[in-house]
C-alpha cells in the first residue's frame, strides 16, 4: 500500500507552517526592498526669528479699544 501522505491533513498543516516559517526567515535575514529607496534629507530646524518693531505714532491711542494680546508695550 502506497503512503499517500499528501492526502493527509497533517501534511498540509505542516507544509503551510514550514512555508510560513521559511518565508519569515528569508524576510528577516534577507530583507527585500520594494521600489526605490528613499532616504529623507536630514532636517535642520531653523530658529524662528523674533522681530522687534518699534511703532512711533505722532498722536496718541485709546488703549481701551486695542487688542492687547500682541505683546504690545506702551511707552513712554
Amino acid at each position: 500500500m502506497t503512503c499517500q501522505f499528501y492526502r493527509k491533513p497533517w501534511f498540509w498543516v505542516g507544509f503551510i507552517c514550514f512555508v510560513t516559517l521559511a518565508a519569515g526567515l528569508i524576510w528577516f535575514v534577507f530583507p527585500v526592498k520594494h521600489g526605490p529607496v528613499i532616504q529623507s534629507e536630514p532636517t535642520v530646524e531653523l530658529p524662528k526669528k523674533k522681530w522687534k518693531i518699534l511703532h512711533i505714532t505722532s498722536y496718541h491711542m485709546d488703549w481701551s479699544g486695542l487688542r492687547t494680546n500682541f505683546g504690545v508695550l506702551r511707552m513712554p
Binding site: K49, I53, I56, S58, G65, L73
Partner: protein, 300 residues
C-alpha cells in the same frame, strides 16, 4: 485716536503669523503741540531707537517724520511710514535708501462733490486750518486741484487760525460770506490758558453755532457733527505699510525698491443727524452709496 489705532491694527494684520515684539511710542502731538514738546518727545523716540535697536521702525503721520525719521535717512534701520501728508522730499525721503511708506492724499475733489450732492447750490467755500505744519501739504494740493476740477465752486478764503476765540469769531463772520466750511486742522486752537482745546469741543461749538454745511477728510469728525467726508481709511494705510514691512523683513527687499505711494480708495460717509440740524434733505441715491451716521456724540 481711532485714526491712529486703525493704522496700527492694519499694520499688525498685514504681519499676522510672524513672531513680533512691538513697542509703541506715542508722541502725543495733537494734545500737546508746542515746539518744545515735539522736540522733547522726538529726542526721546530717537534715543529709544538707538538703545532698543529694532529690526524695523513703523512711523505714522507727519510729526513723527519731522522729529524722528528725518534723522535716520540712509541709516541701516529700515523705516516704513503711513499717513504722511507732505511730499516725501520735504523730509529728504526721496533720496533715502532705508525709507518707504504709504502717503495720505485726501480725497478733496470727491469730498466736495459729495457736499454738492447734499447741497447743490454751494458756490463759496471757506477753508479753516490750525497752525500745525501737517496741513501745508494738504492745503497746497487743494489749491492745485480746485481750479481745474471744481470749476463751479470758489474757495474764498484760507484761514490759518491759532486760538479758539479767533476760530469762533471767524466762523461767525463767515456765516454771511461763505456757503460752506472746509474744516481741516482743528486740533491746536488755544484757549485763554494757552492749552489746546480738544477738537471734539471745537466741533460741538461749530454744530451748535454754525448753520453752514461743513466737510473734512477724516472719518472720526463725522461722529462729532461734521456733515460729510470722503475719508482715507486708516486701516488701509496701516495695512499697506505692514505689507511693505513684510517685504523688507521676510523677503529681504530694500525699502528704496518699494517706493512711496498713496492709497487710492475713498469712502463716503454722511452725518444724517447734522444734515437734519441744517435742514438738508438727503437723496436716497446718496444715502445708498454712503455710510450713514445717525447720531452726534454731543447730542446724547
Amino acid at each position: 485716536m481711532e485714526w491712529t489705532q486703525d493704522q496700527f491694527r492694519g499694520f499688525k494684520d498685514a504681519l499676522k503669523g510672524l513672531d513680533i515684539e512691538y513697542k509703541v511710542f506715542e508722541m502725543d502731538t495733537k494734545r500737546k503741540s508746542s515746539p518744545e514738546w515735539k522736540e522733547k518727545v522726538g529726542r526721546e523716540a530717537r534715543e529709544l531707537i538707538e538703545s532698543w535697536k529694532p529690526d524695523l521702525v513703523y512711523t505714522n503721520d507727519d510729526n513723527a517724520q519731522e522729529y524722528v525719521t528725518k534723522y535716520f535717512t540712509h541709516s541701516d534701520i529700515p523705516f516704513v511710514f503711513s499717513a504722511v501728508n507732505a511730499e516725501p522730499s520735504a523730509y529728504g525721503f526721496d533720496s533715502s535708501s532705508n525709507i518707504c511708506g504709504v502717503l495720505e492724499q485726501e480725497h478733496f475733489v470727491q469730498t466736495v462733490r459729495l457736499l454738492l450732492e447734499l447741497k447743490p447750490d454751494i458756490k463759496r467755500i471757506a477753508v479753516i486750518v490750525d497752525d500745525d505744519p501737517t496741513w501745508n501739504g494738504v492745503v497746497e494740493r487743494m489749491k492745485q486741484d480746485a481750479p481745474e476740477q471744481l470749476k463751479n465752486v470758489r474757495f474764498i478764503s484760507w484761514n490759518v487760525i491759532k486760538t479758539f476765540a479767533e476760530y469762533q469769531e471767524t466762523v461767525k463772520r463767515l456765516q454771511n460770506q461763505a456757503d460752506a466750511l472746509a474744516l481741516l486742522g482743528i486740533h491746536t486752537f488755544k484757549n485763554e490758558k494757552g492749552e489746546n482745546v480738544p477738537w471734539q469741543e471745537v466741533l460741538e461749538w461749530t454744530g451748535k453755532n454754525s448753520r453752514l454745511p461743513d466737510f473734512s477728510f477724516w472719518k472720526d469728525r463725522i461722529y462729532y457733527g461734521t456733515l460729510c467726508v470722503v475719508y482715507v481709511s486708516g486701516y488701509e494705510q496701516g495695512f499697506g505699510a505692514g505689507k511693505l514691512a513684510y517685504e523688507i523683513l521676510v523677503n529681504g527687499k530694500s525699502p528704496a525698491s518699494l517706493g512711496m505711494k498713496p492709497t487710492l480708495k475713498g469712502r463716503p460717509i454722511i452725518s444724517l443727524a447734522r444734515a437734519k440740524r441744517l435742514g438738508i434733505q438727503v437723496r436716497s441715491r446718496t444715502l445708498l452709496s454712503s455710510e450713514v451716521v445717525h447720531t452726534i456724540a454731543w447730542e446724547q
